[in-house]
Amino acid sequence: MDIIVVFLIICGLVFFTGGAVGILRFPDFYTRLHPAGKMDTLGSFLMVLAVSLFNLREFSWAAVLTSLKILLIVLFIFILNPTATHAIVDAGFRAGMRPWTKKDKGK
């Protein structure tokens, strides 16, 4: 059980690292949203799953209730994170930000 939990946590940290590095490395606003909005979603999913599994190692009804709450967080994250991403990209699109393309690479 512990091995699964540690494995899930490490996977989640790898995805979170990818998200942070992607935010730093990508050239413009639209491409930065790709790692930010979505690798954070999967990373949160994996780590929250790890926490909820670790919480269930001693079975009791209170622990089951807490794990259900944690899974509710997962549900919220999966609905809210794409929506937040969409809100940001919509704001940028309406404000008239120009997407970076390959031709701008010289700049």
């Binding site: 942070a20 979603t41 944690i70 809210l80 994170n81 940001i88 704001a91």
Partner: protein, 95 residues
């Protein structure tokens, strides 16, 4: 096992510093907003890990849940607020 959670939390703090760079030095307002959103989604996980470390997970879960909703609302409100500000960006308007 608690050590694993401690180091994972420390690593998350490190990643939050990396995201903080984008939210402080981001060229446009929306870049900063992306940084803030990334920090918020890491904070939810960090709260859960803190709950595991102090063995009060039942309390910290509620805080994390409220924080997730609050973070979403902050990002939504800020992006709604800034979408009318055409003059804030460095680039010319785009059709």
């Amino acid at each position: 096992m608690v050590n694993v959670f401690l180091y994972a939390g420390l690593f998350l703090c490190l990643l939050m510093v990396a995201s903080l760079y984008r939210s402080v030095f981001g060229p446009t307002v929306l870049d900063r907003l992306i940084g803030v959103n990334a920090i918020g989604s890491k904070t939810v996980i960090l709260l859960l890990l803190i709950g595991l470390i102090y063995e009060r997970l039942d309390m910290f879960v509620d805080i994390a849940l409220a924080y997730a909703l609050l973070n979403f609302m902050a990002v939504l409100a800020a992006s709604r607020y800034f979408q009318k500000r055409k003059g804030l960006y460095e680039e010319p308007p785009y059709k």
